[in-house]
Every structure is written in C-alpha cells, then in structure tokens.
C-alpha cells in the first residue's frame, strides 16, 4: 500500500497484506473472536454521522439532533429485533466490558437488600470475573461454578448453588476461547423459577447463533459491535422491562442519558453501525452460520485427517459455528504461531499471554498445562473463504510436522516413554 506525504498514517506498523497467485491475500485473518473486520455495509451506514449528521442525539430542538436521534432509535430497534426484545430495553454503552460491568455491578447494587450472593462460571471473560472479584471486596459472596470437560456448566450444580441470598446469575452465552455454548435457555428457566436475575455476556453469540431473550428467560444481556462486523467502541446492554422488570443502578453519573442507566453523549456513528450490523446478522444468520460451520468443519477435517494426537477443546456439539480450538500435542503454541505467521490466529500458550500462565479456560476443562500450551484458536468469520481454509489447513499440518520433528517430547512419546512418569528437572523455573 502506498501512502503519500500528505496522508501519513498514525502507525508505522503496516499489516502489509499481499496477494498470492492462488488469489488468497496474506496474512489471512482467522481471529474473529478477538474482533471481526467491519462489513462494508456497516461502514456505509456510519459515514453520514461523522460529518453531515454530526448532531447530538440529546439535542431536542433542531434537525441536527433529530437526525442523530433517528439513527439511534433505528439502531435500538434493529438490535432489539435480533434478540427478540423491544427497543426500549436496549441501553447503549461503549462495549462489552462496560456492559458487563454495568450489568453485574448495577444489579448487585440494586438488589443488595435482597441478598448478596452472585453465581458465575470459571470460564467467563475477565470483564465478568474481575467485576465479580471487585464485588467480593465489597462484601458480596461469589460462587465460581466449575465446568465439565466439554466446557458446559452442570445444571444440577447450578441449581444447588442458588440459595435464598442469590440475586444474580451471570453466565456467558458463548465462550470467547473455545466457542462453547452454555445452556442459556435452561439456565434462564432455572433463574426465573427462583426469582434470580439472569445476565448473560452474549457478545460472542449474538449474530452467530439465535438468541431470544424471552424464549431463553434472559433478563440482562451484553452486546458489542466489533464481534459482529460492526465498529469497536459501540456496545449495548439489554435490560428487561417487564415480566419481571429489572432495574440497575447506574455506574456512570451525568446527564441521565439512556433512561438514567448510562449517562454520556451517545456515540452516534458507532451506534448506527452496531444497529446495521445487527440488521445484517438478523437477515443472514441462517445461511451464514451454515456456511461458516461448513468451513470450520472443513478445517477440522483437513487437520485431523492428517495429524495424530490433536485434541479439540470443548464440546463440538454445543459450539459457535466459527470456532475451532485445538491442542497439538508435543508442539508449543507460540512456536506454532511463529511458523504460521501468515495466518492471524490466537494461542492459549502462556508464551502469548502477559501473565505467563496458560489459558485458564482450558485449565478449567481439565486440559493439562502441557496441552493448554499447545492450543490454537481458529475464529472463522464472514469473510473467510474455502481457499483460505485449505491454505490454513496445509500450513498448520506442515508446521506441526516440522515442529514435532524438533520436539523432544514427540521423540520420547514415539520411543514409548510415558511423559507423565518422567521426573522433569524444571522446578527452578
């Protein structure tokens, strides 16, 4: 890509995407759980709200404000339609982290008189777990539910965990690492029967699999734009208004926007984009999820038919169509990423994380640290193609084979050494 002096880019880091003879552009983006590329139709929807329709949606007295408000209300309707809600139940936020904070802290504070117990699961996103930890410091009691080997919460365990003081259950709809879909409808039913508010972090699920807040008895749900081909910095929170009405204590004070639940001037272009992204998802989800699941299965077969000792992390049955999380035994995840550096994916290896700990999600499934270090997350999305899938499958297979030739563990395993029985001299590290 060429840039002239007048339009210098703010960053020196150029992705440098290049075309190859077989029509694939490298690097290939296959990390759609981290973020999705924006759909051009979404960008088109947003553009007028930066310049000509720049008004503040809260300005009630002139057409600039009206135009902005119209965009906001259309977006509210589109989001509501995607999840079976009504427009008035949608509150705009800056994204998933804020939505999760508002939902959990807002419910905890509102229902403090009623009880102080919150239930969540160990595989939740940090935006949920750390919010719960914060509430523990304030005197709330939090139960962190374990998950089964397939990544799902056990409903009987959950039933037993609910007590008289439970005010909130917060369990995600789809996991960001392993793509596992929790039994949201069953959890919702359980919570409704016990009169407990049910919040779900649905950012990975919405737009990918059907979510209906009424059929699933969801009371509060977090949504974000950039996981469904919309913009970053635009999110929403669904808050049930009737049967039963759920109330939240605002976490940001100010002008009383969003019915007092979230003050702050609305990000109109972002909100317009989020709404358009939801409208597209609503329209195209049936065909798209089928196509993406087909690509995902093609990748899975391409890898698993050619490599032994590869393990899928989490349930294959209850899973997002675009997710594949695989551990490649005897190969360390970061070195694998380095070998396939023309493909953008993620690893649960400690070497790729700031904490030097392997993925807590994989550990929660009972995956050993060794296999957690060997995991790769593929996130297949709207714009991936069959040719890309085949390229990725080939590159992964050839790189794993090469690294296994380099791996003392693979050699030992082939010699029949039981790696679990070896006394590793690594205590000092």
């Amino acid at each position: 890509m060429s840039t002239n002096a007048k339009t210098a880019t703010p960053s020196s880091q150029d992705i440098g995407q290049r075309a190859t003879p077989n029509g694939i552009k490298l690097p290939i983006y296959m990390d759609n759980h981290a973020t999705t590329p924006m759909d051009p139709r979404v960008l088109e929807e947003m553009l007028p709200y930066f310049m000509e329709k720049f008004g503040n949606a809260a300005s009630r007295n002139h057409p600039f404000g009206w135009a902005a408000e119209e965009a906001v209300e259309l977006s509210r309707e589109r989001i509501a339609k995607l999840i079976g809600a009504t427009a008035k139940e949608i509150i705009f936020t800056s994204g998933a982290t804020e939505s999760n904070n508002l939902a959990i802290k807002g419910v905890a504070e509102m229902y403090r008189e009623k009880g102080n117990h919150i239930i969540t699961a160990v595989t939740e996103h940090k935006a949920v777990l750390d919010t719960c930890k914060h509430l523990e410091k304030l005197g709330f009691r939090v139960t962190y539910m374990p998950v089964q080997k397939d990544g799902l919460v056990d409903l009987d365990d959950l039933k037993r965990a609910i007590d008289d003081k439970t005010i909130l259950v917060t369990i995600m709809a789809a996991n960001n690492e392993i793509g596992v879909l929790q039994p949201v409808a069953e959890i919702g039913k359980l919570c409704r029967d016990r009169g407990v508010v049910f919040h779900t972090d649905a950012v990975q699920a919405i737009g990918k699999v059907p979510i209906d807040v009424n059929k699933m008895n969801i009371d509060v749900a977090s949504i974000t734009g950039h996981k469904l081909y919309g913009p970053k910095g635009a999110g929403a929170l669904y808050v049930r208004r009737k049967n039963p009405r759920v109330q939240l204590v605002a976490q940001i004070d100010g002008g009383g926007h969003e019915r007092g639940m979230r003050s702050g001037t609305l990000n109109v272009p972002g909100i317009a984009g989020l709404g358009k992204a939801c409208a597209i998802a609503h329209e195209e989800m049936p065909q798209e999820s089928c196509k993406i699941a087909g690509l995902r299965n093609r990748l899975k077969d391409s890898i698993m038919s050619r490599l032994d000792e590869v393990y899928i992390n989490g349930s294959m049955e209850h899973r997002l169509p675009g997710n594949l999380n695989i551990s490649f035994a005897y190969v360390e995840g970061e070195s694998l990423l380095m070998g396939i550096n023309d493909i953008a994916v993620s690893s649960g290896s400690a070497c790729t994380s700031a904490t030097l700990e392997p993925s807590y999600v994989l550990k929660a499934l009972g995956t050993g640290d060794d296999l957690a270090h060997s995991s790769i997350r593929f996130g297949i999305g709207r714009f991936n193609t069959e040719a890309e899938i085949d390229y990725v499958g080939d590159r992964v297979v050839e790189t794993v084979l090469r690294l296994r030739e380099l791996s003392p563990l693979y050699e030992m395993a082939k010699e029949g050494v039981d790696l679990k029985s070896v006394k590793w001299a690594a205590e000092a590290h």
Binding site: Y330, V331, E332, E334, S335, M338, G339, S349, A350, C351, T352, L356, P358, G368, D369, D370, H373, E405, L406, S407, P408, L409, Y410, E411, V417, L419, V422, W424, A425, A426, H429
Partner: protein
C-alpha cells in the same frame, strides 16, 4: 510479539537438530524444563575423551521460538569448545546474541541449564568404569 532476525533465522533454520545415542559413553545428554511450563530442551554433546573437546552437538526443543533459537545457538556455541570452555557460556550472552526481550530470558537460562546438564551427564559417565544404562534424564 515481534522477534529479532536472529531468533527468526534459528527458528526457520535450526542448527544441529537431532539425537545421538544416549548410551554412547562419549555422549552427554541434558534434558531440562517441563511440558507443563511450556519448555523442554534436550541437548546432547559428543566429547572426544582424549582432548575433552565437544566434537558434535544436537538438540531438540519443545517451546516457543525463543526457546528453539536459544538451544539452536547453544549447540553452535558448544561445538569445538572444551568442556571447561563450554561451562563458561552464560545465559546473558545468549540473551545478547538473540536480542531476547525480558519475558524470554528464561529461555536462555534453560539453554545454559541444558549445556550444564549435558556436560554433567557426560562427566558422570567418565567417572564410572563402564557406560551406565539408565540416563539421568529418564
């Protein structure tokens, strides 16, 4: 994370990959690290008993790119050195040569440990009259 050119070069073209016969009296084997920690290095040296010079070195590593590069470099550096000279190799020199960032320093430490473990194993063999069947590593 971005890697230095030298790390990338060792990762793409690792030197001295392979294995030697652990039972050979002239071969010392070091196996350090643990799969749970995400790094395991096996480094082997073949020593000329007359001169104490390391005539050959091989490695296999399970670990990140920096771990592979550190052990690959270690095999290059020990070759042609005497046992005593090889023991003088410091992890800090590996860090410098490969321009490892602070979070990857443990890879260089592991490579130094692997050299020491291999030499230790070889020395132990020299002290015993005949080759020992079971190796320290297993």
């Amino acid at each position: 994370m971005s890697y230095s050119d030298k790390v990338i070069d060792h990762y793409n073209n690792p030197r001295n990959v392979g294995s030697m016969d652990k039972k050979d009296a002239d071969v010392g084997t070091g196996l350090v690290g643990a799969p749970e920690c995400g790094d395991v290095m096996k480094l082997q040296i073949k020593v000329n008993p007359q001169t104490n010079i390391i005539e050959d070195a091989k490695f296999k590593t399970f670990g990140c790119g920096s771990a592979i590069a550190s052990s690959s470099l270690a095999t290059e550096w020990v070759k042609g050195k005497t046992i005593d000279q090889a023991l003088e190799i410091k992890n800090t020199e590996i860090v410098k040569e490969l321009a490892l960032p602070p979070v990857k320093i443990h890879c260089s430490v592991l490579a130094e440990d692997a050299i020491r473990a291999a030499i230790g194993d070889w020395k132990k063999k020299q002290e015993t009259a005949k080759p020992v069947e079971a190796q320290a590593a297993q």
